[in-house]
Symmetry: D2
Subunit: 341 residues, 4 copies
């Protein structure tokens, strides 16, 4: 059985495993106050050209989303998200569990537009009963989105402008950020993200690490006391250096981008094969997730040898499914899948 | 200026004011453990033909909704509501502030169907990642709805069946319940509600009282320890007897229904006048809220002498607005409005 | 049976009942945006000589405490309170239900000292693991305290200084404030409280009103968006004018202080009687709560005709109990109790 | 510099590192639904002789505590803890952040007695205003405690009995459980814990693993829907198999106990050296934490070469400090410290 169902089916890049082994018996202070974390933070600040930002390391995405959102909102404020946003759909209500409403808006291929955000905020301010409604205070988007699509630099700039107009924080979930940066046609890099957002994160779990998300905080109000928040939300790893070592390895010589490019090359190969066989897609994209629409009978057949995700029913005999590549995907497995199509 | 903008523009029925005056210097224990509360609870149990139910008195609707929902849900569970539901739109995220997600569904004239609820629950159970999503556990509907429409007895029975199928609590918000019961064509009475729901409440604030909502709890799991919840959520009135005295007065000889009928008679008179003048409505209903669609120029003119609520824009020159009658509405004021139409 | 068990056994002053009756059929906007609330707020600003403060009206004490504390704290911050503080002991964990820790300190006759607060904050800042502990951010005290004692003006000034030193908010619970102001030996008035605190409230429920607490907010950070908080926490009364009318009546010609003085005169009379009969007290105070230590046999005897609160066991044959007077206490009832001693 | 300041200064046992390396490129499903997790769960059920228990794997202690407590309590319920308990002191209010009060009791050498618990619950039930107070529902204790002391089997049985009497859950935090089991004089093993508690956990982070806590749930009410809770609280690791592989390695041939015994042997050697040099202790214990009371001048001297924790000031010239050994402690380092004493 060959799994294409997610980008977290394997462990970590050999480089990371080796570094963990090398540093295993070092004695360090706990809770990310060690030299590996400090060095990794510095490397990320440099990669983002954002020396005044603060960089923190957390274990996983849901934890990161709830910690960041909890650090930003007052009890009566909410976070705007696409209806397909991970925080709205796939975190068992973690944001609500902290007391905050997710203000879900209809999306187009997983993306929000600046016009939608502007309209929601304007309606709120003009409503006579505005104090009876949750006040929008943050925008949460993902790059790439849940559907593997990407915001362009211009779209992000427009969203930034609307956020400034309405005094909103802009937060970008980068759980798969590496794959977005490496994708064809993408024009948004780490430096852009650091410049345009108040806070974003660089996903490690799905991009080469065993686990770990690096949060880059630019807005001073969000920087303040952030470690209290990490601890309270259960994200303060005793052996924080495990996160430091991993991100140090990923960012000291471009490994993060190299492994992302590998995944994208294989995704493109697989995508081209789907196109060639005449399949259409639930959504067109250029990142590591591919959403072909296929006959149910064909899916039954593929299921015997390949793992993939069921996405949604399209008609009585067709469904959309998801195939993912990752840093760990072997070319021979992609070839086997292509052969089976 | 004559106000039709809500059903809480005046104080309380004279009968209630007199009773509060008569009992003013009685000495009673606090926190609703007095004889007025006990008698009022008994009268309501009788009116509902539900002697095993527990009746509690709270001050207002938002407080009641959050206390009931908080008593029912585990942290990872959510409450299904129409997208127009009061808890989703007009309570500043009170339900989320307790940690629970509102699972908003599209509505039709303010109402949910049993089929929608069934579908959501079935999808949840069949999803591979069901544990990554909020588990539906309660259905919240309003009778009448925010748009003044009513569930029929059959619709409620169907919803009850779906709730039983999926192990959901059914909770009915009756902030305007009296006006629903008195409305033409309604076939749902207190006894039906007590029989079909796990918990519902009888609104006093909008139906003759100064304030107060009487919660009728049928399900034993929701009855248990409910007073702890009331206290924690800030709803335990020191002079609880104020609630007892009011509901005692409303229910000892049918006052609750008499004042509701008054409001409905005047609403019908006003509604007929709108029809006669050729106006159409945002939604057709028979309760105390009327939603005519009017020319903006006409609204400007009316605004000089009448208060009403802006509801939504319909086209460039027309808007839907809301006029409410209540227990306190004077026939001469309705006549004045009709004359001005 | 004559009740001395609390200061909320009756309704409201006749002046308030009359005013509610007079204004009963006025039509006003809801949610405390009416003229009565505006006038009452202005009267209170004047009484406090604090024209820049914001005044809001809530229904009860627990609700007020949770709304104010929720408006002040970030998720990782806590509120310092005496171990006997109402928020720590008697609100079913309402503060914790919002997500905040109550940092309880040992008290002396119900009071905290500035030195204790200073020590807690200094220890926090100097601890290597400070981010693993809740950050103190607010001080909550009551005037009078749960034990009927009073902070002197000098003590409040010292606490204010410590709050400034450590960047803490100072919040005073004035549920029984009128009785404190009227007490012998008290040197703290409304003006002092407005000047020395960031937020405090003037209790109506126990001092002449049917219900209601007037929150006076001086600190701009707490003023911002406070109405959102009131709505979310269930404290936004639909007929907010009920609160406005009551506080208007209490503050337009000194009624609040007159009814407080009545209660204190009778408390002093009763206290003197206890002294004369040779009883000692759990705590010495001059407000409307009296805590004599009495033989259990005597208490059994009194119980037949008088209601009072059991406080605590002192030894095998003696207990401390509580007798309260209020705006509503009749002199003949106090005389009857004195005769029975 | 040689660190004795905590038991998480190194990575993981070589056996674990090797296994992670061996399994690194295996493809597995995510979220702990892989075979390693299943096998590890089975090994732990067997070690506990508790085949009906459910075993889940979480990343760290604070996360585990909040997830378990959140799964157990209703909003108005609280958890009893020693005043020195980790949840009360060192988790930045994580339990309160979920809405629950920690009911802190004075401890004796870090331990609670069954009599204390009984008294608190009895007082609650007998109080007239019990609904105004948080209802005790769970007891949280640590084995070993924060001060390295141990509950005897008899003490645990007595606490179990009190929990049964008052319908409380018993939850044991075993972050350092291995060191407790290996300690001299201990008579509580995994089987006893599984039999006497409703839920407990076996700490990996401090006992040989990179990270990870294995929660063993015996009570059916806590088993239900626990994975929803894990996901919501941010503890659902995408690559859950990392936890499975580690606990599989620790429990397949007794590695967990062997590494614990190593730490205890070296702790005993160090403890004996302190005794021999004439030092007394803040608390006497037999586990891997040692709390000698030392001259400040001596501590200054040691600080140049050794890391340890400052615990508390004893008098003007003496302080209590903490030295920890662990699975990773090297005998030569212990010898160096002994030489420096």
């Amino acid at each position: 059985m060959i799994l294409f169902q997610s980008d977290y089916t394997e462990g970590a890049c050999p480089e990371i495993m080796n570094r963990l082994l090398e540093t295993n018996m070092e004695q360090t202070p706990g809770y990310s106050e060690d030299e590996h974390c400090m060095k990794a933070a510095k490397l990320i600040q440099e990669a983002c050209k954002a020396p005044e930002s603060k960089v923190h390391f957390l274990v996983g995405g849901t934890q990161t989303n709830m910690t960041v959102i909890g650090a930003a909102l007052r009890p009566y404020q909410g976070v705007i998200s696409a209806a397909t946003g991970h925080i709205h759909v796939h975190e068992t209500g973690a944001v609500e569990s902290l007391g905050y409403k997710v203000l879900a808006l209809p999306e187009k291929e997983g993306k929000l537009s600046s016009a939608q955000i502007d309209e929601v905020c304007t309606l709120h301010k003009n409503d006579d009963s505005f104090e009876h409604m949750v006040q929008p205070k943050m925008v949460y988007i993902s790059q790439p989105t849940e559907l593997g699509t990407l915001y362009t630099k211009q779209e992000l700039e427009e969203i930034r402008n609307v956020c400034d107009k309405h005094d909103l924080y802009l937060f970008v979930d980068g759980a798969r950020l590496g794959y977005g940066i490496a994708a064809k046609g993408n024009d948004v890099d780490l430096e852009n993200l650091a410049a345009l957002t108040d806070v974003f994160y660089i996903g490690g779990t799905k991009v080469g690490a065993l686990f770990g998300e690096a949060v880059v905080i630019r807005h001073p109000a969000l920087q303040k006391d952030f470690r209290y928040m990490i601890k309270q939300k259960g994200g303060m790893l005793a052996k924080g250096r495990l996160l430091g070592v991993q991100f140090e390895t990923l960012f000291e010589d471009g490994l993060y981008h190299r492994v992302s490019e590998h995944a994208i090359r294989l995704a493109d190969k697989l995508r081209d094969a789907f196109v060639e066989k005449g399949y259409s897609f639930l959504v067109e994209n250029t990142t590591n997730q591919i959403f072909p629409i296929m006959e149910d009978s064909k899916l039954e057949e593929l299921k015997e040898n390949f793992g993939f995700c069921y996405q949604q029913r399209m008609d009585e005999t067709h469904s959309a499914v998801r195939f993912c590549t990752s840093w760990a995907t072997k070319e021979e497995n992609v070839d086997a899948l292509i052969a089976a199509l």
